[in-house]
Amino acid sequence: MINKDLVIIGGGPAGLSAAKLAAESGLSSLIVERDFKLGGQLVKQTHMFFGSEKQYAKTRGIDIAKILVDDVLKYPEMVEVMTDTTVVGLYEDKVITLLHNDEYIKVQSKAIIIATGASEKVLAFPNNDLPGIYGAGAVQTLMNVNGVLPGNDVVMVGSGNIGLIVSYQLIQAGVNVKCVIEASSSIGGYKVHASKLKRLGVDILTSHSVKRANGTEALESIVISKLDNNWDYIEGTEKTIEVDSLCISVGLSPLSSLLSMIGVDMKYVSSLGGLVPYIDSHHETSVKDVYVAGDVCGVEEASSAIVEGYLTGLIVASSLGFKHENYDELYRDFKAQLENLRSGPFGEKTREGLQEIARDHDVK
């Protein structure tokens, strides 16, 4: 059994930022990441990010990943990294089991930060398992990490920011994006992203959904249909579109399965993407010394994941006796940054959702 003060599960923006602030406070940590490299979702984001300069806005996601990774590599004595290592088990006494190269490793930690992010939701329709039908995030990985085109003619389902951004990146890669379809009567993501696509000639069809996919060996065409206000198909509005790829981007849900293993109190909150843990203002779950940060406790943005990571790293270090010399100042700053990011109309869902999972004893 290996003993650690702090284990951080997930090496995305939230996990990396937590490790940085823990190290700055004097607390060592181990980051466990199942992917081959650190960076989480950022490693495939070739676009410039939103947010403010403090969270690296206008920098491309791939470059933000480098900055965050370099930040923790500055503390080689304090931050240990295990990539290509998956956390497969979590126990109430804070024993963590890892799988690395077919080897099973047990770690006992004093505190744990779970920063596992989120996974893509699927959409049910006939033949949705045909080859050529992908999640938008998977397509982004294929294109931007592996340099492989998903196909030649694509339709995107979902007009949230991910659907809009991945459509734009498909065009940058030379793929013909035939249209974006959206079940709701208005575009889900930022309008600046939508306008960017529209001026490239891509139609965004609101109040539309995919009815079925056709093909024998692989995807050959899809049938789309208009929807009424109750999201029911309107008979007679079906249209067949020939495509070899269909991208599904209908939202993300928090990867909270590890939390379920140790009986953390959770709640289904649709505005946060699915099943999320109750947390207090210190991001501690109902299980003592088990904390969460980033998309796993509510699907948001890299900007907020970074700040949540900083905040949680700062707090956990302090609770284990390593109080940062500027603790109060940093604490206030991180809280203020989060509040500012969430203050607009796009933050409304998050604000409401977070209220639903605020742990009672926390109302100070």
């Binding site: 947010g51 403010s52 575009i187 309008k191 600046v192 490239l200 500012n340 990011l341 607009g344 933050g347």
Partner: protein, 159 residues
């Protein structure tokens, strides 16, 4: 309608343009009509000409007295929502962000495209800035006939 198809209305577009007298000098046109948590336009402007303020969700407002039309905000905006417009005789000159490849070459004639993605005119490529500073978002200067000043938004390679 912007919310349904991504196309800003004529009124929305005109609300971001100063008068033609002001446009004798190059000015930034910020087509950002929604409250989103974003502010690189404001923080990147060396002349403090774009204002967002404390609340990062506030929409940007350009002070045309301070704006020099330098174009820094154009390649700093993650939404690619800013162009520089200027009136030069009977032409409208734009500096716009461009992220597709191949990049245009000075002297080429490309299609001029409106906000719906339709080709509306020809556009002469006058200058292409692609340095480390623009970080892979090329700054392309083009001119189009003046009558398209409020319709033109980007260029497309003629296939």
């Amino acid at each position: 309608m912007l919310n349904r198809d991504g196309v800003a209305s004529k009124e929305q577009v005109l609300s971001r343009f100063p008068s033609n007298e002001v446009l004798v000098k190059a000015k930034a046109i910020t087509e950002c009509y929604e409250e989103i948590p974003c502010n690189p336009c404001a923080t990147s402007c060396p002349f403090d000409a774009i204002h967002i303020g404390e609340d990062i969700n506030t929409k940007p407002v350009v002070d045309f007295d301070l704006c020099t039309g330098c174009g820094i905000c154009v390649y700093s905006c993650p939404g690619l929502a800013i162009v520089i417009a200027q009136i030069v005789n009977d032409k409208a000159r734009f500096k716009l962000p461009y992220e597709l490849r191949p990049l245009p070459i000075v002297g080429e004639i490309w299609d001029g495209v409106n906000r719906s993605g339709d080709v509306i005119c020809k556009a002469l490529i006058e200058k292409v800035t692609y340095t480390a500073r623009v970080d892979r978002t090329a700054l392309v200067q083009v001119s189009v006939p003046l009558e398209f000043i409020h319709e033109f938004i980007t260029v497309r390679r003629v296939l």
